[in-house]
């Protein structure tokens, strides 16, 4: 059995390729999260603004993202855009773009919830102390909002990581695709190869996501008891 495990995971280039696939998976997630945060915060602030048109537009966008599977969005943008636009979009670009579209929607909603959850009298007490609106935003509202935001952002990160295997549908060679390729080759010789390879990928995802989930829960508890 050990031989079989060894052959499936470590023979030839197998392990290096799996790690490369994992690297791509994490890289896509990382880029998407960073972009989502960068774009989601201003979007969230706009959403909590008074402008009715802006609010309505974001609500519509949010609802669309909420009901549309990420996979369908990947498919739509990859196959339609690359076929009908002059620019040939790489699957990598489409992946990061779609994940960011999703992430921005989630982030914006998190930011909106965090900002509106801060009681109005916090702002009023700031005014009573003679602080300017800008000072109030940066010294009072934002520090509290970020604490409320953090668990949600980390949660979004694990969900991004768990969603990356979808990129395999638009022909990217991520962790998942590498696994499939290895099984196709070694599976001829060793029937158990699929068990080891898919089992390994399964465990790999767990090992990455579980600590992040624990951290998010730790922050949530800390915030609640504070």
């Amino acid at each position: 059995m050990l031989d079989s495990v060894h052959n499936a995971l470590f023979a030839g280039e197998n392990f290096r390729r799996l790690m490369e696939g994992l690297g791509l998976t994490l890289w896509i997630s990382f880029l998407s999260v960073v972009l989502s945060i960068a774009l989601g915060i201003p979007a969230g602030l706009l959403m909590s603004s008074k402008n009715k048109f802006l609010r309505g537009f974001f609500r519509l966008y949010l609802e669309f993202i909420r009901v549309m599977p990420i996979l369908v969005l990947l498919f739509f943008f990859y196959y339609t855009l690359s076929r009908y636009s002059a620019i040939n979009l790489s699957p990598f670009f489409v992946s990061v773009m779609v994940f960011t579209m999703w992430g921005v929607a989630e982030m914006a909603d998190l930011v909106r919830a965090a900002v509106t959850s801060i009681p109005a009298h916090q702002r009023e007490s700031g005014r009573a102390l003679g602080l300017s609106e800008l000072q109030i935003n940066f010294l009072i509202i934002l520090p509290q909002a970020i604490r409320r935001l953090l668990p949600g952002v980390i949660n979004l990160t694990t969900r991004m990581i768990k969603t990356t295997p979808f990129v395999f549908f638009i022909n990217m060679v991520d962790l998942f695709k590498v696994g499939q390729q290895i099984v196709e080759v070694s599976g001829m010789r060793d029937r158990m190869a699929s068990v080891w390879v898919y089992g390994f990928i399964f465990i790999l995802f767990f090992v990455i996501c579980y600590p992040i989930s624990l951290f998010s829960r730790y922050l949530e508890n800390k915030y609640q008891s504070a």
Binding site: E63, R66, V67, M68, P69, I70, L71, V72, F75, F76, Y79, T80, R83, Y84, T158, K162, T163, T164, P165, F166, F168, F169, F176, G179, Q180, V183, R191, M192, S194, V195, Y198, G199, I201, F202, F205, F206, C209, Y210, S213
Partner: protein, 218 residues
């Protein structure tokens, strides 16, 4: 747009939409059943079982469905257990969804205050009746937003089932893509998912508003 394409592909999309609907239905219903069991085990802190439930929830929540499905479909047969594509899809959805539903229902159960339970006890309610008439109705109302989010999440996750050789919407769209109808087939794909999930989303929003109205929230 080419109308003949739509009339030709419509039956294919309709069939695939139906498949997605059926898979989602069973996936969600079984998830709620599994989730309720797990949540009750957690709520009553049943020894040993709650450790198993904890491990299950963490594993299911921290691995992607697509990997779970691949394992079920391609690895399990090597271990002597062959499941067909549809069974795999429903088992996978239930495995994933059960964990999310368990968390939703657990948070609902925990929201019912200690003295509410004592009040029920002081009126002579036994364990089971207490659950049925006092705890569960209140817990459900609190858990509803998360249950609705999980239901929609699971319906969206069904979009991956073509990897276990099911002819779902994505499979149909991909097939038509090869014939060079990218825009039309992709638009149909989007429309089908809107038809599937939007009513569910709106329905849950309505339910949430109603349950809030029916005497909850101070």
């Amino acid at each position: 747009m080419d109308t003949s394409f739509i009339s030709q592909s419509l039956p294919l999309f309709a069939k695939a939409t139906w498949l997605t609907l059926v898979l989602s239905f069973f996936g969600v219903v079984f998830s709620i059943v599994v989730g309720t069991f797990c949540a009750i085990i957690n709520f009553y802190k049943i020894p040993v079982l709650r450790r198993i439930v904890y491990a299950y929830i963490e594993v299911a929540r921290n691995t992607p469905l697509i990997v779970q499905l691949f394992f079920l479909y391609y690895a399990l047969p090597r271990l002597g257990m062959v499941l067909d594509g549809k069974t795999c899809a429903v088992v996978g959805l239930t495995f994933l969804g059960g964990a999310y539903m368990a968390e939703a229902i657990r948070s609902g159960l925990q929201s019912v205050g200690r003295t509410q339970i004592e009040t029920g006890m002081s009126l002579g309610f036994g364990k089971i009746k207490l659950m049925r008439y006092i705890i569960i109705p209140q817990a459900l109302a609190v858990a509803l937003p998360v249950i609705s989010a999980t239901t929609i999440f699971l319906m969206k996750e069904t979009s991956v089932v073509s990897i276990v050789a099911l002819h779902d919407l994505l499979y149909v769209a991909k097939d038509l893509l090869k014939e060079g109808h990218a825009l039309q087939s992709n638009l149909m794909l989007v429309v089908c998912y809107l038809i599937l999930i939007l009513p569910v989303s709106l329905g849950f929003s309505y339910l949430e508003r109603r349950s809030r109205f029916a005497g909850f929230g101070a």
